[in-house]
């Protein structure tokens, strides 16, 4: 059926194009074609994903990609997106897929919170010359410490991070082997952790990265056995994901290559289907059972993380999770990314992470169980200031996914689900995957974490605080701007000027 959708982008080339055909090679969507009879490069705008790969790699720098200026008659109710979604569904009868986090203009609370700085009375600290502690311990903290005679304290296992930032779950299968490796290398060099997602961990990576891996147990139970669970620093039970709360996932057969299949322990080329629920978890008591089973299989040596999407009543859910024995609670906000999700779910289900952190931290404090569990907040963390604000609202650390992908080259074109990622990140195509240099990509990630850590230290010093621990739940360091009364109440902060 002929598509009735207008092209999303316009490609322009200035006159200096010397027909080197680099753009043709770079584009995985087949936009650029060389017209030999006229010695000219042609472009098919309709195929363009706006990923900017050709523009970045054009040796002459003559390619520019713009949002198309063509339009349907402007209509406040029927935006271009609404019209085109209907046309696409009328053409296919299918669920619309998309990638990356929601791009809808829901209020970003980070941008409505301002951070404090000391003036005169409580002096600020210069982190360049004075010690500044970012080390973070995640796990269940004892209510009181009892020292035995040998001066050893009984304590549950914890994760030690050199900076309060972890890479969130991105599975091998969703992302390429190179991208997966880059995250693992960067995590080990930066003293933090990467997360295998639900795709298992290739055996050759286990001895190298086990100390910096968080392995995931999700509803599909892919690639999971006792060995995998023991080759990790922590185990994460994935209940939900911010980009698609309440639904499962399908890794399409096209992405299940031989190596992906071996890692997930399924036949090559079959769909890897993750059911919406864990079928052994229908209650908090059942969750407790899986948490305990994982502690058993890992001999009580590793903290167990339970990851949920931020949704309505998140604080009550969090309370149940802590009571189920989770050592760490990971909450993923609605702007969290994905390799593939139904667009309607991504853009309409869940709540922003900022509100969730605040609600959960307060509830756990009110119930007197906050120390039993650390909180990792994810889904929409874009810069070091977001990290500081998240921790001041009550998180212990943050997960970054999208930011890490952007560091490796991602431009958020949202075509992850096609498996044709031009940057070699979200693809299993060997030719495309090779584009991502593992060493260079991991260096970019290490640099990002290092830069953010410096900035966090500067902000802490400005507040007169010399340890990240003292920032946790320290809402007094935040003020809201342009927020309603209920929003200030929920966030537990005062308005700017107060």
């Amino acid at each position: 059926m002929r598509s009735l959708v207008l092209p999303e982008f316009t490609i322009s080339r200035s006159g200096e194009c010397d027909r080197c055909r680099a753009c043709e090679y770079q584009c995985p969507f087949g936009v650029h074609i060389y017209d030999a009879s006229n010695d000219k490069m042609l472009s098919d705008n309709r195929r363009c994903a706006g990923c900017q790969r050709c523009a970045v790699f054009c040796p002459k720098g003559v390619i520019e990609i713009h949002p198309s200026s063509s339009f349907y008659r402007p209509n406040a109710s029927w935006s271009r997106e609404r019209i085109e979604d209907i046309k696409r569904q009328a053409e296919t009868g299918g669920v619309l897929l998309t990638g990356c986090g929601s791009d809808k203009p829901f209020r970003i609370y980070w941008d409505h919170m301002l951070i404090n700085a000391s003036q005169v009375t409580n002096p600020s600290i210069d982190p360049l010359r004075e010690p500044m502690e970012l080390r973070t311990f995640l796990g269940s903290k004892p209510e009181r410490i009892l020292l035995r005679e040998d001066m050893d304290a009984d304590a549950d296992p914890v994760l030690t991070l050199e900076t309060p930032i972890l890479f969130s779950a991105m599975s091998y299968g969703a992302i390429s082997y190179n991208a997966f490796q880059a995250l693992a290398i960067a995590a080990s060099r930066s003293g933090t952790f990467f997360n295998t997602g639900e795709g298992g961990m290739p055996p050759e990576m286990r001895p190298l990265f086990k100390k910096h891996a968080i392995v995931q147990v999700a509803s599909g139970r892919f690639g999971i056995d006792a060995e995998y669970l023991n080759c990790a620093a922590a185990v994460e039970i994935k209940i939900g994901q911010g980009a698609k709360p309440g639904i499962g996932g399908h890794l399409p057969g096209e992405k299940v290559s031989k190596h992906v299949a071996a890692t997930r322990m399924i036949p090559e080329g079959t769909d890897a289907i993750s059911p919406a629920p864990h079928h052994d978890i229908y209650s908090i008591e059942d969750l407790e059972m899986l948490v305990s089973a994982i502690k058993e299989v890992t001999n009580y040596e590793k903290p167990v993380i339970v990851k949920v999407a931020a949704v309505h009543n998140i604080s009550a859910i969090a309370s149940g999770i802590v009571r189920a024995g989770a050592d760490i609670l990971a909450i993923d906000g609605m702007r969290g990314g994905t390799g593939a999700a139904p667009k309607v779910i991504r853009d309409n289900v869940g709540i922003p992470i900022e509100l969730a952190i605040s609600a959960v931290d307060r509830r756990l404090r009110d119930e007197g169980i906050r120390e039993r569990c650390s909180i990792i907040a994810g889904g929409g963390i874009r810069c070091s200031a977001d990290v500081v604000k998240a921790i001041a609202l009550g998180a212990d650390a943050v997960y970054i996914g999208t930011a890490a992908l952007i560091a490796m080259g991602c431009t958020l074109c949202q075509r992850c689900y096609t498996g044709r990622c031009s940057w070699g990140i979200c693809t299993q195509d060997p030719g495309l995957m090779r584009r991502l240099n593992v060493e260079e990509a991991s260096q970019r990630l290490v640099n990002l974490l290092s830069a953010w850590s410096h900035e966090i230290k500067e902000m802490l010093g400005g507040m007169g605080i010399n340890a990240i621990e003292s920032l946790r739940g320290n809402r007094d360091q935040l003020r809201g701007i342009g927020l309603h009364e209920w929003e200030l109440d929920l966030l537990g902060i005062r308005g700017a000027g107060e």
């Binding site: 669920v95 599909g220 399924i266 079928h279 052994d280």
Partner: protein, 259 residues
């Protein structure tokens, strides 16, 4: 900790009275015994202790034989890594949950989600199994998990099944389950006796077992008969019955769902 146990004549075997032990204590003891080199353990008076066999992962793949008298609790043999467990009685929910290899023999009934997500090894159940047995079982290469059930199963047998083999002998009555194989996209289920079209999910293809299938059945059913000699079953008689095979219509059941 004082352990009430008695050594049998065989040095590597030990008998334990579990009547006053909680889950964590019992499993910790089993782990200590495994690391100390014991290969055979008999547990008496087991009553509801969960995850028996789960804490027995060892990189060098030590293998234990655990015989259970009483009723073990949920998740018996969850994540099992090569061990052999025999239960002289019934088992509860989650038997062999995500097990990797080994064998579990239940000389009674097993509860819901028996063999959920298992990826290797075999489970033999003398009686029936509960709801959602063999849920999301999967296979890869040589690893092909097997469940053989003497009786039948309740609804949603083999839901999301992605690999492996399920055999229901139907020794004690007809198969009345519904929604069998919803979302099935791999593996095979063999049911002795008739199964109606309306009992199976839309992703399931019903056929008669052929010669290759009969070889598979012969192999695993003789294993079943060997483990439950008291049933006095005749292999040829069992094989010489109407065998229904359920297999997936496609390995990509949701391939056309998306725009």
């Amino acid at each position: 900790m004082e352990i009430s146990c008695s050594r049998t004549s065989n040095e590597s075997a030990i008998e334990i009275d579990a009547s006053h032990m909680d889950t964590r204590e019992l499993n910790g003891l089993l782990r200590e015994l495994m690391l100390a080199g014991y290969e055979r353990v008999v547990l008496r008076n087991v009553c509801g202790q969960r995850y028996i066999g789960t804490r027995l992962y060892s990189p060098e793949r030590r293998v234990m034989n655990i015989e259970i008298h009483g009723t073990p609790g949920n998740d018996l043999g969850a994540f099992l890594f090569g061990h052999r467990i025999i239960v002289h009685g019934n088992a509860q929910d989650g038997v062999g949950n995500t097990m990797e290899s080994g064998e579990i023999v239940i000389a009674g009934r097993a509860g819901d989600v028996t063999g959920m997500s298992m990826r290797g090894g075999r489970i033999f159940v003398k009686g029936d199994v509960g709801y959602r047995a063999a849920l999301h079982m999967k296979e890869h290469g040589q690893k092909r998990p097997v469940i053989v059930v003497g009786g039948t199963a309740q609804d949603f047998l083999g839901e999301y099944m992605a690999g492996g083999i399920v055999i229901l002998l139907g020794l004690y009555g007809a198969h009345n389950a519904s929604f069998i194989g919803s979302g099935m996209h791999g593996g095979a289920m063999y049911l002795r006796g008739p199964v109606r079209e309306e009992q199976v999910g839309s992703h399931v293809h019903i056929s008669r077992a052929d010669e290759t299938d009969m070889e598979i059945l012969r192999d695993h059913i003789s294993g079943f008969i060997e483990r439950f000699p008291d049933l006095a079953l005749d292999l040829e008689h069992i094989l010489d019955s109407e065998w229904t095979k359920l297999s997936p219509r496609s390995s990509r059941p949701y391939g056309k769902l998306y725009a």
